[in-house]
């Protein structure tokens, strides 16, 4: 037997389940600092620029603080949906594709009404966006339940398909007829009935952020107070027990994929009508993938995801700032975010296992 042993805890440690994300962030800062030093940047300045300056630097905070909610909104909205599936052992990793399709469907509905100035346009667009994302997620869902096809691979492969559809839409069907032949749709921000403006000036709050907060509350109630939430947790922890408890596995798969798809689709719609403004070839920026990190960093718990979404948004904004101020490469932030997930998964062992030192009989 080795000198260091792991001993399974009877129940996950409450202390460590809160402490591990914090520990992971601290470790990532250290490792990230080393990485930045290797790139020839001052590690302390880099970490401060990423985590401190966007919020408290007198020069930048006025611009970057509202950005926090703008970036956190879609991350939280998508991650909440994903977390339900991840808890149940349903792995939707193609949220990026559902996000794209949601944006396309929603924008298409809005553009079809152009230039009618009706209040109903925006709600219809939100519904279309949610349905678009839902439908795109139903492809891996139905293939999994009908043909037992691996949903991880199908949902991911569909991201590449969605990106091609996006390119086709931006260059063809949804292209701005008055855009002088340039790719990209009409700017929805300039079409009042279809736009998703900042609700309170200077906060960055738009309808997508509101939807994200509602999703957090909804998920919290679902998981702690509702039988469906119990079934989701049960299916993840013990699929056999879940079947005995009368959980229909196929329905659960469709529910988890459907909800996460619809939320990702809505996130895409709120983005295309608000911060992005139009359907363009490079409309998607990887929120669907970063949301996976957010879901795990938040320990698949709604409140945790809320905090994790804000933190991850901070690294985005801080990363841009560091790019601008210190010439830090944009990819360094992506690597930094990946590192965060590594450390989180590594220290998570503390939640479920006790570490014992010294020799002893392993039972």
């Amino acid at each position: 037997m080795s000198v260091i042993r792991l001993e399974r805890r009877a129940a996950p440690s409450r202390f460590w389940s809160v402490a591990t994300p914090i520990l992971a962030v601290a470790l990532t800062m250290i490792a990230g600092g080393v990485m930045f030093a290797l790139l020839g940047k001052d590690p302390v300045a880099a970490i401060r620029t990423i985590f401190w300056d966007p919020l408290f630097n007198t020069q930048f905070a006025a611009y970057s603080r509202p950005q926090l909610l703008v970036k956190a909104g879609p991350l939280i909205l998508i991650a909440i949906g994903l977390s339900l599936g991840f808890r149940a052992g349903v792995w939707n990793i193609g949220a990026e594709g559902q996000y794209i399709i949601g944006a396309i469907c929603g924008a298409a509905v809005g553009l079809a009404f152009y230039p009618a100035d009706l209040w109903i346009v925006f709600p219809l667009m939100v519904i279309a966006g949610a349905l678009g994302g839902w439908a795109w997620a139903m492809i891996p869902g139905l293939l999994r339940t009908r043909f037992n096809t691996n949903e991880i691979l199908v949902s991911l492969l569909l991201v590449y398909v969605a990106e091609q559809i996006l390119a086709s839409m931006a260059l063809g069907l949804l292209r701005n007829p008055e855009g002088g032949g340039f790719p990209g749709s009409r700017n929805l921000q300039q079409y009042a009935a279809a736009s998703n403006p900042e609700l309170i000036a200077g906060t960055g709050m738009h309808w997508g952020v509101v939807a994200a907060f509602i999703a957090v509350i909804f998920a919290y109630v679902l998981l702690t107070r509702h039988i469906t939430g119990f079934h989701i947790r049960l299916a993840g922890q013990s699929p056999r027990a879940a079947r005995f408890a009368g959980v229909n596995p196929a329905r659960l798969v469709l529910l988890c994929l459907g909800v996460s798809g619809a939320l990702a689709g809505m996130a895409g719609l709120f983005e295309v009508t608000g911060p992005a403004g139009q359907i363009s070839i490079d409309f998607n920026v990887g929120y669907g993938f970063t949301a996976i990190i957010v879901a795990f960093l938040g320990r698949l718990h709604p409140v945790g995801i809320l905090l994790a979404g804000l933190l991850m948004a901070l690294t985005y904004i801080g990363g841009e700032l560091a790019q601008f101020m210190l010439g830090l490469p944009a990819a360094a932030i992506q690597a930094f975010q990946g590192m965060l997930l590594f450390f989180l998964l590594a220290v998570d062992v503390m939640t479920n296992y006790r570490i014992r030192f010294g020799r002893g009989a392993a039972t």
Partner: protein, 309 residues
Amino acid sequence: MNLGAIDPVLLIASLMVAATPIILAALGELVVEKSGLLNLGVEGMMITGAICGFAVAVETGSPVLGFVLAAMGGAALALIFALLTQYLLSNQVATGLALTLFGLGISAMIGQAYRGVKPPATAKLNLGPLGDIPVLGRMVFSHDWVVYFALVLVAGVWAFLKYTRGGLILRAVGENHDAAHALGYKVVRIRLAAIAFGGACAGMGGAYVSLVRVPQWTDGMTAGAGWIALAIVVFASWRAGRVLLGAYLFGGISVLQLNLQAAGVPVPVEILSMSPFVVTIIVLVFISARQKGAAVAPAALGRIFHASS
């Protein structure tokens, strides 16, 4: 439209080139999955291998050295997966995803200095009289060494799994790690070796994309090849020989669609570009529908092994 411009001989020759990175990556993942692990980080290991190989080949002028270092780079990243899943007992799906996200970031970071640089060419092998055979010579015997290396590796992995004691132990670990542990096999050590092998293969596959197939560096240039490789392992029903079939099928479609684009077929470019992915999904559906109920996947796939539990 000019379909006459598509030369079937050239088509098959370039199919073999297009399939090579997929064969390498899928073969590595096959061995990993046979040991009972699911590593979703293939894309991340491939892109890491792609930049490691590219950087080393450019700096040293030796593509062979590039491939060697690409294999080491892929294996190094894979060892992070090994550390997390084998010693810290993390969830394999999440860890694999982290590997992909991290690999894409770190490769783009290293790759900044190599944009627009041309790597040294990987020479085609001179197979003597074989290359002079009409049609077949140009089609099959006019490639670089990696293409043949991948084919030899297919045979090697097949023979290893089927005929050797080591292969039997690896399969035993993948089918039932508790039983293998009880028999005294070092489950974790065997899996470490499998993961490192998988990483090395994926790294080489990535380097083949950046050094031969494209050949230049762009961010995220493996463009889903790692995910295709994962799908092909399922397609192959965890058999080495069928990996070859799957990779050639996929390689054929991706080469054909490029040729059709060039020939100006009246089909939107986007439809052609998405076709390899759509076909992969469709094939995956057929295979999994047929496999339904039959236990073809390694039984311990994706389950966490802890000696005390």
